[in-house]
């Protein structure tokens, strides 16, 4: 016994239309909560991508010229080893630099094709004993202008702030979106319960003529699902805008070298989109299952 698609679509559309205000509220709430939730993930990805270079206590990077001599290298190493203020350092050679470049620009293979390891600068990733910003800047300045050194870049306040605040901001986003998702579930439930109540007579007739429980339930469950999917679509549009205009916007600023990589890759974006769709489906299934089992089967 199949449920006819025409029947299901007609019933769902009627149900949603009957309570258009509540339906709109539900869809908006789902959309906003999923947008926040997805935004939290995109933001985390972007921060991760931007600060990958600054992980493990690395506070500044000494970029060498791509065509530097071994003597220049040796001088830098000695200076790094002898300084009591430097706890640790790591050398990234040209092949390593190329790997990083490939990771960073994985979305733009055209760009990667124009680059080879020989033209990329090797670098020293330095971990100072004291991560205080002033100490780091002073230390970093000591390496500026040395023979063979192209530039010295330190994790300035922006990166520090981002790193320090990212987790806190993330948690706020996360908790907020979870609460909103809870509210969205309740709204779906309310909407379906009100649809069930307004159709009491129809349901009574359906039961008396022998419609199966599933047949009676399915339009209501599809209704919940439709609301969630519309919400997810809205959230997806919002995330796309967030990625396009806000996150990508960071790459246009002056602090290019620092915020390079504050962006979200296509695969990360796709993953996030699928995740919010999955959550939307889950939320709607929970909301409508509760509504249907509590108010329909009794």
């Amino acid at each position: 016994m199949a449920i006819s698609p025409v029947y299901a679509i007609r019933e769902t559309a009627q149900n949603l239309w009957r309570n258009i205000l509540l339906t709109s509220a539900t869809i908006i709430t789902i959309g906003v909560s999923l947008w926040l939730f997805g935004g939290f993930f995109l933001f985390n990805y972007a921060v991760g991508n931007a600060t990958a270079r600054w992980e493990g206590g690395i506070e500044f990077v000494v970029w060498m010229n791509a065509d530097g001599t071994p003597e220049q290298d040796a001088a830098i190493r000695t200076a790094l080893d002898e300084s009591p203020e430097i706890k640790d350092w790591d050398y990234v050679d040209q092949d390593g630099a190329f790997e990083e470049f490939k990771d960073l620009f994985a979305d733009t293979p055209e760009l990667i094709a124009t680059v080879s390891p020989e033209i990329l600068p090797p670098s020293y990733r330095v971990v100072p004993a004291d991560p205080d910003a002033d100490v780091v800047r002073e230390l970093a300045d000591q390496f500026k202008g040395r023979p063979g050194v192209r530039s010295v870049v330190s994790a300035d306040e922006t990166i520090r702030a981002i790193q320090k605040q990212a987790d806190k901001i993330g948690i706020v986003f996360f908790i907020g979106s979870v609460i909103l998702l809870g509210a969205a579930t309740l709204l779906i439930l309310t909407n379906i319960v009100s649809a069930i109540k307004s159709r009491g007579e129809e349901i009574e007739i359906m039961k008396v003529v022998g419609a199966t429980n599933w047949f009676i339930r399915i339009p209501f469950m599809i209704e919940g699902l439709a609301q969630a999917v519309f919400g997810a679509l809205g959230a997806w549009g919002g995330l796309w805008a967030l990625d396009k205009w806000v996150i990508s916007g960071f790459n246009d600023t002056d602090s290019l070298a620092l915020l390079d990589g504050f962006k979200v890759s296509d695969s990360e974006f796709t993953q996030t989109s699928l995740m919010i769709l999955g959550i939307a489906v889950l939320v709607s299934v929970i909301g409508s299952a509760v509504a249907v089992t509590r108010y329909l089967d009794a």
């Binding site: 016994m1 129809e202 039961k207 008396v208 003529v209 022998g210 199966t212 047949f215 009676i216």
Partner: protein, 225 residues
């Protein structure tokens, strides 16, 4: 076709609505359930449909113990039972045609079946000319005909009717009874609860009388009292 063995139904609050009822109704019979208000007629009917479940005793419909049915099978039982309400219970926003078609659609009948059976049954109940009317545009008698069409469109073996003429004047009731009689003559078993003395006395069919939940009379070709 319908068999009750020592069936007792007790509602919350210790109301015994049916007490130790044993009845055997053959296929094609027409049975009137009579008795004072509160004597248990509606309860009797709802038990047959498994809207209610008895506290003790066994009910067989078409040879099957319906107490043993899993709840997921109840809809399939009901597809063999037409049900007519005193207040018609038509859906106001649907036309005559849609009201009848609804009963087939919701049990998953394909569209070509719906398109064939609905006009045929509306012809049978004499409403071919009012197919596009809404319930509000029909008389009580016509509304009850629609409700009968809906109950019978799937050709059930059994028709249950709880005071189908309760909201109708005597003349209109006669028309409804003619219709039920015709349906009964096609071999459909009909069980009808009623307060209508005139109808019972003119039809002279089997009469089961309830009093305080007990069967006090079971008479072939009986009268109201």
């Amino acid at each position: 076709m319908i068999k009750l063995e020592n069936v007792t139904k007790v509602y919350k609050g210790d109301v015994v609505a049916l007490r130790d009822a044993t009845v055997d109704i053959a296929k094609g019979e027409f049975v009137f359930l009579v008795g004072a208000s509160g004597s248990g007629k509606s309860t009797f009917i709802r038990l047959l449909n498994r809207e209610e479940v008895p506290e003790s005793g066994t009910i067989y419909m078409a040879g099957k113990d319906i107490g043993a049915l899993g709840s997921w099978k109840v809809p399939y039982l009901r597809r063999n039972i037409g049900y007519i309400f005193q207040d018609f219970k038509l859906l106001r926003k649907k036309t005559v045609y849609e009201n009848v078609a609804f009963a087939l659609e919701v049990i998953g009948k394909p569209r070509h079946v719906v398109r064939k059976q609905v006009p045929a049954i509306l012809e049978l109940v004499g409403l071919s000319s009012k197919i596009e009317n809404f319930p509000d545009q029909l008389s009580g008698g016509e509304q009850q005909r629609v409700s009968i069409a809906r109950a019978f469109v799937n050709r059930p073996l059994i028709l249950l009717a709880d005071e189908p003429t309760g909201n109708l004047d005597p003349q209109t009731s006669v028309g409804i009874m003619r219709l039920l009689d015709r349906i009964n003559r096609t071999g459909t078993t009909v069980v009808m609860a009623t307060h209508d003395r005139g109808i019972v006395d003119t039809m002279r069919r089997r009469v089961i009388e309830l009093d305080g939940g007990s069967i006090v009379r079971d008479q072939a070709r009986g009268v109201y009292e």
